[in-house]
């Protein structure tokens, strides 16, 4: 902008010519990349099926209604398992994530050169890998069941909770901690009086937020054998029992709405 102002003929331009060229170039490259990717995906797609999709969708839709309500008796226990996987998994994750967060935050880590990179690596590894893949791995190692689901959920959640928490720790008010250390408090006392109260709302918010996400994620873990309602979903899909699928989807929807309600309630109470 300043360049435009200083140039002799006072013609106002939103961008100068170089910026304009750069912007066009970026758009062009972006479009080219997108077109290429779309081309590739289109090549590995059987378009015959896709053109047939509306008919199939209508067909499946008609089979899904009405839901098979009587199936609910077989769903209550898997649903209970699903909620437990999310809840216990989140609790375990919190236990492991809090120390990792303190090791990763610049202002609390014992060493920025050695400990912090390790903590950051734990966080990125945990975050990069979806809970379903963790579940796949754990089912393969410790066998199918709820335990694999719980561990999968907690392994995935560590990174999420630690990352948000360590960012909150790095943003605390330094003065409050200083005031506590000026009284002659020890390191641990500084932690519980100076730092904990400051990050408590963030911590509670993050935990409940993750629990909410985990409820959603745990609904599908059963698909790879890690317990919960996903197991029934998989079984029903395998035998094309669409009325049962409908009921499962309704149940999942209700659970998700419930968890969102609870998390909104808790967050409201704490802040």
């Amino acid at each position: 902008m300043t360049e435009a102002l200083s140039s002799t003929p006072k013609v106002w331009q939103h961008r100068n010519r170089n910026q304009q060229l750069l912007s066009w170039f970026l758009w062009l490259t972006g479009t080219a990349i997108f077109m290429y990717c779309w081309q590739m995906i289109s090549e590995s797609t059987t378009w015959f099926f896709v053109w047939d999709a509306p008919r199939i969708a209508a067909d499946i839709g008609s089979r899904m209604i009405p839901p098979r309500w009587s199936y609910i008796s077989e769903l209550l226990e898997p649903l209970w398992d699903t909620i437990n996987i999310a809840t216990i998994g989140t609790m375990l994750a919190i236990l492991m994530a809090v120390p990792v967060a303190f090791l990763a935050a610049r202002n609390t880590t014992p060493s920025t050169k050695f400990v912090r990179p390790i903590a950051l690596l734990i966080i990125v590894s945990s975050r990069s890998i979806n809970s379903l893949i963790w579940a796949l791995l754990l089912v393969s190692i410790i066998g199918p069941g709820v335990v694999a689901g719980i561990v999968a959920i907690s392994l995935r959640s560590i990174g999420f909770i630690s990352k948000l928490l360590y960012e909150a720790i790095e943003e605390i008010d330094k003065d409050q901690v200083e005031a506590i250390s000026a009284t002659g408090a020890s390191g641990l006392q500084k932690l519980i009086y100076g730092i904990f109260p400051q990050i408590l709302p963030a911590f509670a918010g993050i935990s409940v937020f993750r629990w909410d996400i985990n409820i959603r994620e745990s609904t599908v873990l059963g698909y790879v054998g890690a317990g919960g309602i996903g197991l029934q979903l998989n079984a029903s899909l395998n035998v094309l029992a669409w009325p049962q699928v409908t009921l499962i989807l309704i149940l999942i929807l209700l659970t998700v709405i419930f968890s969102e309600w609870v998390s909104a309630k808790v967050r409201h109470a704490i802040i």
């Binding site: 997108f34 990717c37 896709v50 499946i60 437990n84 890998i129 893949i133 796949l136 066998g143 609904t219």
Partner: protein, 281 residues
């Protein structure tokens, strides 16, 4: 929390203000005694029931330790070469799905995001857009992928549609919240010049939400890549299928190689997007 009048402690302090209280305990977090103990009891009961009902097959876990060690060992010595053609094909397909689905997702999210902002949209449009967002956010990607595979057939297209659908819920919701919380006076100033609706959006609203939209899009690109690794488990294309095969065959060194690639790409994209975000703001 600020309501001190109902607190038993403050009442006693007012009575005793001449002779000061001698003991002190921190005020309880939940004031209502019945609610407090009820919640505590409920929590203990829940933990007892849920943990008590866990069926842990210790012998199976013990046997699994061996495989666990093998996996850790696989991580130390990842095998990229063994199935390199499968791995590279899968990763490239994942990346293409990521790009395509993010672009489609953004393109659809912007109108829906505007429609879901209560300060811009008329009520019927608002409700319609909010319904789409709620639907998209409620179901985990895998469930959507299963349905799309059933409808559109196996292959990356089902994956792209799944990820686009999931992106809509994410982007539109955050975009709508951003629009709702934007600075009113700036937008009003543009409106006051008598500009038509689209100019108002272009000058009054767009500049305010642009940096955030770019940030969110980059974040979603990152998420879509991670998710593209999973939709393959149900036949919707990407690296997931290769990963599934590797686990099924207990080829932990190959699985480790794939996971390391995923982690590496996520780290790289986080680094780049951090760089771009810093440049935008």
């Amino acid at each position: 929390m600020g309501n001190m009048v109902t607190s038993p402690n403050s009442v006693t302090s007012e009575i005793q203000s001449t002779s000061l209280p001698k003991s002190w305990a921190p005020p309880p977090f939940i004031k209502n005694r019945i609610l407090r103990w009820g919640l505590m009891l409920g929590l203990v009961l829940y933990l007892y029931l849920s943990v008590g009902m866990l069926e842990v097959n210790w012998t199976r876990i013990y046997e699994g330790l061996d495989r666990g060690a093998k996996f850790v060992f696989g991580f130390m010595n990842p095998n990229f070469a063994g199935r390199w053609s499968d791995i590279s094909e899968g990763i490239i397909e994942s990346l293409m799905m990521t790009v395509t689905s993010t672009v489609i997702g953004i393109a659809i999210s912007i109108p829906i995001g505007f429609g879901a902002a209560s300060n811009l949209a008329p009520l019927p449009i608002y409700l319609f857009c909010r319904a789409i967002i709620a639907l998209s956010r409620s179901f985990q990607e895998i469930i959507v992928a299963i349905l799309f595979v059933a409808i559109f057939g196996f292959g990356p297209l089902a994956g792209v549609l799944t990820l686009s659908f999931a992106s809509i819920g994410f982007l539109s919701k955050l975009l709508a919240e951003d629009i709702e919380s934007m600075d009113k006076s700036q937008a009003e100033a543009v409106k006051a010049t008598g500009s038509p609706w689209w100019q108002w959006i272009n000058y009054g609203v767009q500049p305010q939400i642009m940096p955030r939209l770019i940030g969110l899009s980059l974040y979603r690109l990152d998420i879509n890549f991670r998710e593209s690794a999973v939709v393959g488990l149900v036949g919707a294309g990407g690296i997931g299928a290769t990963l599934n095969t590797a686990f099924d065959r207990y080829e932990y060194d190959t699985a480790a190689a794939i996971l390391i690639l995923i982690i590496g790409i996520v780290m790289l994209s986080e680094y780049i997007s951090g760089y771009i975000r810093a440049g935008v703001q």
